[in-house]
Amino acid sequence: MTIEFLWQLPAASDARLADATRYKRGERLPGEPRPYVDEVTDPRGSRFNYFDYLHQIARAAELAGFDGIQVQHDVQGDESWIIAGYLARSTRRLRLLAEFEAARGSAVYAAKNAVSYQRFTGNRFAWQLSSGGTEQERRQQGDFLAEDKLLQRIDEFLITAKGVITQSPFSFKGEFFEVLDGGFQGPLANNAVPRIYLSGNTPTAYELSARQADVHLFDGAAVVDAQKALAELQILLQQQNRNLSAGIRLDVLARETEEEAVFDARRFWQQSGFGKGGDEQPLAPNLWSLPVAYSGARASLIGSYEQVAQRLIEYIEAGFSSFLLAASPHLEEAYRIGEYVLPLIHKHLAEHPSLAA
């Protein structure tokens, strides 16, 4: 199995400290005071904004040896497809994984746009379909669908999109999407379907992944628990006679020593309000149930470079092959993880070729 490491791009905000939600690096927000006293000149004017910073993170991820970037779906931030397109021509080999909801519009239109992304990037575009926020949040997005229909809509979205990308003529009529004699011609035909990433920890979510996903992204959990969840999905896969890659979503906070890492994590929790007051304990060695970035992750690996690498190797040994990682600030941490953690894992994989076979 090929191992991939994806770095997450924060769509709404990023900064050095845990009050990152208030800042968009590279951009002085309207109403935000000048950062310097009057005598100190500021040459930037309004030449840059957050897109220039996102561009730096993407380049950092590529230079530091990640295999792809995931563009987070965050309704408080910039839109993931636009960000992915904006970064496409400045990156050479990164997989561009855009997270979005099936509520975004027509599945045929999404498929047709995806074909252009694939044509222009040499098939580096990938889709992560998520179910969105709470019912109230979804209504703010013009989406009034009942909770128990969300996965069915993702299913129909993928049936329709995959159908028109791979077949012509293709017809389908579902509850949410339809198409009659669809499918693409000429150079728009025969393009690769974007690699499909799905998530969720219910039996229905596993069933959907077993049918439709190339990667199922599990929430961060201790190896033994993650393995249990994967085993459940594998039963369904065997019934379908299908295979997919197992992925896991983790924040990472790695420092030269474990002590420094835990110190920085506690500072983040204190500043962000994630922690309870300094008495948090790990779930498992180096695994904490608190995030260390605004990434949506349910757990973080915190420790020395060697420890974090070793824990990630344990997930690989347990059958996981896709890692969606994040740490704040995302630029500096992309270099740090790429320089100190990923090489230890690649070295281990080279010495144990059966793991990455």
Binding site: N49, I82, S116, V179
Partner: protein, 393 residues
């Protein structure tokens, strides 16, 4: 009052001139799977794709003085949203006019996409709102709504887009869209709302355009009809207490002399094979429910044996859709004549143009260098000193 010139981006390949329909540029020509000639540099893939040629045309347009370009969307094209985001970082002034059918996107998502694109480009995104031609193609897109419902949906889409753009909780209960406390987040809501060029010739289209459009965009039609159309939409918009501008989408062939310009058209016509001409004559039957398409086809003569049969007014040729897809009528003539025709259109109410000529790369330079400098706009220089400009050139 200003006059803005836009160019058109070829989103489905490109012949090297009007003389040929063969799309040498891009991968629409069978057997040519990328831009470079097979065999060059060892013959392998070189990593370039059609977006690299589109980038060339966009740069040519911005260097030559155009505000930007229309990015058309049809079943056989690459998609404007993709192209715009891909080229955001490497263009300076080029404005991306995104053609799209509002029904294909959730309006709240579309608002966030648009504001993000404004942020990525420094405010260079605008829309060409189209509402679809109906018939089998509409079902191909996965859209089964009727003609008038599609326009009603377009209106509602733009209602919601404007509503959420204010950045304050917005509620809407429409036939097609509902939102509850929706708002574009800060600082996305600080961006300028995109200018809207609106296409559509039916009454339903005029109603929707008068409510939301900044520019009412029409294909070239015989001038008297175009004047009527512009006056109708302006009258309707006045009733709503709004102002609307008008724009014309027109193909052109401009050369130093009129003779050379017609030679391009003649060669293009003569290079058509008989089947293409036969198909063209019978096209009338399959236009879907597009009123604009029907209007174009009524200007078509019954017998066509020579390119001259398609000349319907001085310097207006109605066979452009024989040479490539899209609209039929366009302007053919010397640089002075083409500029004069554009001035005629200004005189009857046009405030903006989307011009196109094949190949879009070389012709962007030619039109920018030779034609745009001759356009007098509302200065009426032509009327006062006829022939002066042609005499000094």
């Amino acid at each position: 009052m200003s006059i803005d010139f836009f160019w058109r981006i070829p989103t489905h390949g490109e012949p090297s001139s009007h003389r040929s329909r063969t799309p040498y540029r891009g991968d629409w020509l069978q057997g040519q799977d990328h831009i470079r000639n097979p065999g060059l540099g060892g013959g392998g893939r070189d990593g370039y794709t059609y977006i690299d040629y589109i980038a060339e045309v966009a740069h040519a347009a911005e260097i030559s003085g155009f505000h930007g370009g229309l990015l058309p969307s049809f079943p056989m094209t690459d998609e404007p949203w993709a192209i715009s985001s891909f080229l955001a970082r490497e263009t300076k002034t080029f404005r991306f006019m995104i053609a799209f059918q509002p029904g294909f996107l959730n309006p709240v998502t579309a608002a966030r996409m648009t504001a993000s694109l404004q942020r990525a480009t420094g405010g260079r995104a605008l829309f060409n709102v189209i509402t679809g031609g109906g018939g089998p193609v509409q079902l191909w897109w996965g859209d089964s709504f009727s003609h008038d419902d599609r326009y009603a949906r377009t209106t509602e889409f733009l209602d919601v887009l404007r509503g959420v753009w204010q950045g304050k909780p917005f509620n809407y209960q429409g036939r097609f869209y509902q939102v509850e406390d929706a708002a574009l987040p800060f600082p996305l809501n600080e961006e300028a709302f995109p200018e809207i060029y609106f296409s559509g010739s039916s009454d339903a289209a005029l109603i929707s355009a008068s409510k939301h459009a900044d520019y009412y965009l029409s294909w070239l039609e015989p001038l008297s009809q175009l004047r009527d159309k512009f006056e109708r939409v302006k009258a309707r918009t006045d009733q709503l207490g709004r102002k609307i501008k008008c724009a014309v989408r027109v193909d052109i062939v401009a050369r130093a002399t009129e003779e050379e310009a017609w030679r391009e058209v003649r060669r293009g016509f003569e290079n058509l094979d008989a089947q293409q001409l036969e198909r063209y004559k019978q096209q009338q039957a399959r236009i879907g429910d597009s009123v604009g398409g029907q209007r174009q086809s009524t200007f078509r003569p019954k017998t066509i044996s020579d390119y001259r049969d398609l000349i319907i007014e001085p310097n207006i040729w109605s066979g452009f859709n024989l040479l490539r897809g899209g609209q039929g009528q366009g302007i053919v003539g010397s640089y002075e004549q083409v500029a004069q025709r554009l001035d005629d259109l200004v005189a009857l109410g046009a405030d903006a143009f989307i011009l196109a000529s094949t190949s879009h790369l070389e012709e962007a330079y030619r039109v920018g260098e030779e034609v745009l400098p001759l356009v007098r706009g509302r200065q009426k220089l032509h009327a006062e000193t006829p022939g002066l400009l042609s005499a000094v050139r």
